[in-house]
C-alpha cells in the first residue's frame, strides 16, 4: 500500500511551515513597528 505521506511530502510540509513561521514573525515585528510609527506621528501632531 502506498504511504499517503511519504518522506518527501513531510519534508515539503516542514519547509513550508518554516517559511510560514518566518513570514508570521516578520509580520508581527512589522505590525509593532507600524504601531510605534503611528503613535509617534500622532504625538507630533
Amino acid at each position: 500500500m502506498n504511504d499517503p505521506t511519504p518522506e518527501h511530502y513531510r519534508a515539503r510540509q516542514r519547509a513550508r511551515a518554516r517559511v510560514m513561521a518566518l513570514i508570521l514573525g516578520v509580520f508581527v515585528v512589522l505590525m509593532f513597528a507600524i504601531t510605534i510609527s503611528k503613535i509617534r506621528a500622532g504625538m507630533a501632531h
Partner: protein, 300 residues
Amino acid sequence: MTIAAPLLPPADWRDFLALTKPRVMTLVVFTGLCGMLAARVPVDPVLGFTAILCIALGAGAAGALNQWYESDLDAAMKRTANRPLPAGRMERQSALHFGVGVAAFSVILMGLAVNLVAAAILAVSILFYVLIYTVWLKRRTPQNIVIGGAAGAFPPLIGWAAATGQIAMLPFLLFLLVFFWTPPHFWSLALFVRMDYAAAGVPMLPVVAGERVTRRQIGLYTIPMALAALVPWPLGLTGVVYGVTASVLTLVFAAMATQVATRTAIDGDGMRPEKRLFGYSIAYLALIFAAVVADRWILA
C-alpha cells in the same frame, strides 16, 4: 467503485515565490519606490517600507492570479511551460487562494498603515491587471497590452500617493510614460517569440496583424512615450539633470525603435535589433526613473 487520484505533493514554497513573477516585481517595486522618492516629502521609514512591501505584494498577487487564469496558455508556450501550474507542481486552487489572499492583504495593509488613496490605487491596479488585462483583453484583442499596460503604470502613482496622500502632475506623467512604453517593449519581445504566442492562440499583434504593422506600431507608440518622458522638464516639474538624461536616453530609444520600425527581418539575422530594443527598453525605464529621483533630490 472510485479510484483515488494520485496525491499531488504540497507545492514547494519556491513555487509560490515563482507565482509572483519576481523579475517583473523588481521593476514594479523600483518604479513605485522612485514615485515615492520623487515626491520629496519626509516619509517615515517604517511606513515607506510598508508601502513598498504592499506594492510588491500587490504585484506578486496579480502575477499569481494571472498564472492561475492562464495556466493553459502557459503550458502551450516554451517560455512559460515550466511555471509551477503548467509543470504540474501545484494545484490550481492553491494558486487562486494564494493570489486572492495576498492581494487582499496588500490592499488592507496599505489602507491601514499608509493611506486610503494609495490603497485604492493599488486595488484598482490589481483588479485592472487581473480582470481587464488577463481575463478580458488578453485572449480577445491584439490591443491587449496597450490597455493592459496601464496596470504596470500604476506603481509610481501608488508610491507618490503613499508619500503625499494625493496625486500630482509628475506621477501622472510617469504613469503615461510607462503606459506608452509598454507597447514598444512588449511588441519587440512579441516579434521574436511570436511563434510561441501563435501556438498558444494569443492574439498578439505580430500574430494577428503581421510583422510590418507591429513594426509601424512600435515606431508610432514611441512618439507619445518620448513626449511623456521629455515634457516634465519644460513644465518645470524636473530640472536639467532629468532633462538632459531623459533626452539622451529617449534619443537612443527612438533610434533603436526607428531601426526596428523600418527594417524587414531576414532569415537567420536572429532578430538582433528587436532583442536589443527589448533589453534596452528595460534599462531605459529603470534609468529614467532613477534620473527623476536624482534630479528631484539634487534640486532639493
